[in-house]
């Protein structure tokens, strides 16, 4: 019966069947919904992110057979978000599978196709800085779980991954200072202080990238202008909030131009007793093995968002790296309201991305571009050559932090409050970036390792601004 019913309307039924089949196929291997994935990818920018769903959405994308060539991309994103959310278990699970795939998987056919045409068809294995961050995250997860042997392996791997393959970046092969630092701490845990000393020495070596100082100068000038504008807007905002028809109770004036040097020794609600027993004020003191051995509270601070990869050139034939500009550049840490010193920048992800080495890829991309231009001008072949896709590969791990700073100190065991106060590249204090984390437990025997991220407008306490106002009133 059904057969005859359908036979009467066969052309439309054929089309419908085809659509149903394809939809069925898509659902069978469906990725997580687009909105969900977008929400997951913007987790660093959201004030109240759903970490759990972000990790799950990314893991669904990773496991989807349709996304095979992006398996490691989603794995790296998922691991980063899991670490960001403090989910060590999922970070380990997703990260290890991704790590092994990046190490072992090879698809020569897609590599050949990518070499001849669109480079995004190859299996994604990430840039050196993305691979080293994955290994670092795995190392940190293993370290936090007390699995120091695995932590050692992953931190070592992070250093090997960061070693760029191209000769134009040869002097930056050992520039992953974050990996050296954590490997040093792991060696201390394994009872190998000599190896730890060497690692801390390497963590202290800063290599300046060509044009870096010039870029920093430009950013300083731009930030100076932007800061003045912000201060004006803050003043208007405060005025409107206090003198409007319905004044807002408890509103705080954030238009004061405070600098890092103005940060007080104690916050307004500091504990009566300073819990900090040992602290480091400069990188040399911070990287001394004795200090690191004594430190029992380590705060890893992630700042901003990582660099962006984009397509450049008339044929989209080149991939370039651009920084994701963010305001916070310096972090000062308070423990229970007492100033405990700065967190030291051990990884600038943009700098690491810019020193990835591009000699081989530029030669390849330029050859393809040239071949296409020649082919386009040839009779008959030109028609086909116009459709030849020689795009570069813009895929990148967009959820990486922009910088990673590390703070360490020896504090009295017990529960503590960790407060971060951020400043911009010109050392101007950024009251909207205050971060406070309560109930950080430092055990009597071992140590506490905490990962914290900065985010604009996350905290509404603005204690420093309140303290500054109180001081001003007293004067």
């Amino acid at each position: 019966m059904l057969y005859y019913m359908f036979k009467a309307r066969l052309p439309s039924v054929c089309l419908a069947g085809y659509v149903v089949l394809l939809v069925g196929g898509v659902i069978g291997c469906a990725p997580a919904g687009k909105d969900r994935v977008a929400a997951a990818l913007s987790v660093r920018h959201t004030l109240s992110p759903d970490y759990r769903d972000a990790v799950l959405a990314m893991d669904e994308c990773r496991q989807n057979p349709k996304n095979l060539k992006d398996y490691a991309l989603w794995g790296m994103c998922g691991t980063t978000v899991a670490v960001y959310a403090g989910d060590v278990h999922d970070a380990n699970r997703i990260g290890r599978e991704t790590f092994l795939t990046v190490q072992k998987y090879e698809d020569k056919d897609s590599e050949t196709m990518a070499a001849l045409g669109n480079e995004a068809v190859k299996f994604f294995k990430g840039e050196p800085h993305e691979r080293s961050m994955l290994d670092f995250q795995l190392g940190l997860s293993a370290y936090q779980q007390g699995n120091y042997e695995d932590a050692r392996v992953f931190f070592l791997q992070s250093l090997l991954a960061a070693a760029t393959r191209d000769d134009d970046a040869a002097e930056f092969r050992e520039d992953f200072r974050l990996g050296h630092y954590w490997l040093g701490r792991t060696y201390l845990k394994l009872g190998e202080p000599d190896n730890a000393r060497v690692c801390f020495e390497k963590a202290g070596v800063i290599r300046t990238r060509p044009r870096e100082l010039k870029e920093v100068e430009t950013w300083r000038r731009e930030r100076q202008r932007a800061r003045q504008e912000e201060i004006k807007l803050e003043a208007i905002c405060y005025k409107n909030a206090t003198t409007g028809k319905e004044p807002v109770e408890g509103v705080v004036d954030l238009s004061q131009l405070l600098t890092r040097a103005d940060l007080p020794a104690q916050l307004a609600d500091a504990a009566p007793v300073n819990p900090v027993q040992q602290q480091a004020e400069d990188p040399e003191a911070f990287l001394k093995p004795d200090f690191q051995q004594q430190a029992n509270l380590v705060v890893v601070v992630e700042l901003g968002t990582g660099p962006i990869k984009y397509l450049a050139g008339g044929e989209h034939d080149r991939d370039e790296i651009a920084p994701a500009l963010f305001k916070e550049q310096f972090v000062d840490v308070y423990i229970d309201g007492h100033k405990a010193g700065p967190a030291f920048c051990l990884s600038n992800v943009y700098n690491e991305a810019m020193t990835r080495g591009v000699k081989t890829r530029r030669e390849r991309q330029a050859s393809k571009w040239l071949a296409k231009q020649v082919a386009k001008r040839m009779p008959f072949v030109g028609l086909v050559a116009g459709a030849w896709d020689i795009s570069a590969d813009p895929r990148h791990v967009s959820v990486l932090p922009g910088q990673v700073h590390v703070f360490a100190a020896r504090v009295t065991p017990g529960l503590h409050r960790v407060s971060l106060r951020c400043s911009d590249i010109n050392s101007s204090y950024l009251p909207r970036f205050d971060v406070d984390r309560n109930f950080i437990a430092v055990p009597p025997e071992n140590e506490a390792v905490v990962l914290v991220s900065t985010k604009e407008n996350e905290s509404n306490a603005y204690l420093l601004a309140q303290a500054a106002l109180a001081d001003a009133a007293q004067k």
Binding site: G17, L21, V153, L160
Partner: protein, 202 residues
């Protein structure tokens, strides 16, 4: 599905069949069995492979079986496996090497050596407790102590220079007398690998 895709003559529509084939091909993979001693071209990098694992364990088992302490013993000596320390830059379960050596020796040493299963210590103790309480039948036997410990260490040196990465591995194993800590046997296996990073990943 085929009924949905019939054309005017009642034959399956080509588009539907093509679509079905595409979907089916997209969602299926292929699996084939390969010789564990054969180096697969899918194994990339400088890390250890199944081939290395088997070669190391077979060579160590042969070397260990030939020592006087095992060949000339009046009764088969008892060996316990201790964790193998992994000091390489690779994620390796070192003790799995010792387990494979044990398997090889049990298979080929014709009973000249015996091993105690320390991984089942907890289960054995529970069983003995149950026997003592009379909950299960059998005697509460005293567990056999080890005459020797079999252990080892894996070490590596890795280098990355330009497009080439090298990995050197040294896998050493030793048999230590349980009552005196004297090492009665030690052997090692060294290998060095070189791999080139693909053009597209530079």
């Amino acid at each position: 599905m085929l009924v949905l895709g019939l054309n005017r003559r009642g034959r399956p529509c080509l588009a539907v069949l093509l679509g079905a084939a595409l979907v089916a091909t997209g969602c299926t993979g292929s699996t084939k069995r390969i010789d564990p001693d054969r180096l697969s071209d899918k194994e990339v990098g400088t890390g250890l492979t199944s081939q290395d694992f088997r070669s190391v364990c077979q060579r160590m088992a042969r070397s260990l079986t030939a020592i006087q302490e095992i060949q000339n013993a009046n009764s088969p000596p008892t060996v316990a496996i201790e964790p193998v320390v992994n000091r390489s830059s690779e994620l390796i379960d070192g003790t799995e090497f010792a387990r494979k050596i044990r398997t090889e020796m049990i298979k080929h040493a014709e009973g000249r050596v015996q091993f105690v299963d320390r991984e089942l210590t907890k289960a054995v103790e529970e069983e003995n407790r149950a026997k003592r309480r009379g909950k299960v039948t059998g005697d509460d036997a005293v567990r056999e102590g080890a005459d020797y410990f079999l252990t080892g260490r894996i070490f590596s040196i890795d280098n990355t220079t330009g497009k080439t990465a090298t990995g050197y591995f040294r896998l050493s194993f030793r048999l230590t007398k349980a009552n005196s800590s004297v090492i009665v046997w030690e052997d090692d296996y060294e290998l060095k690998k070189e791999s080139t990073t693909g053009h597209m990943y530079r």
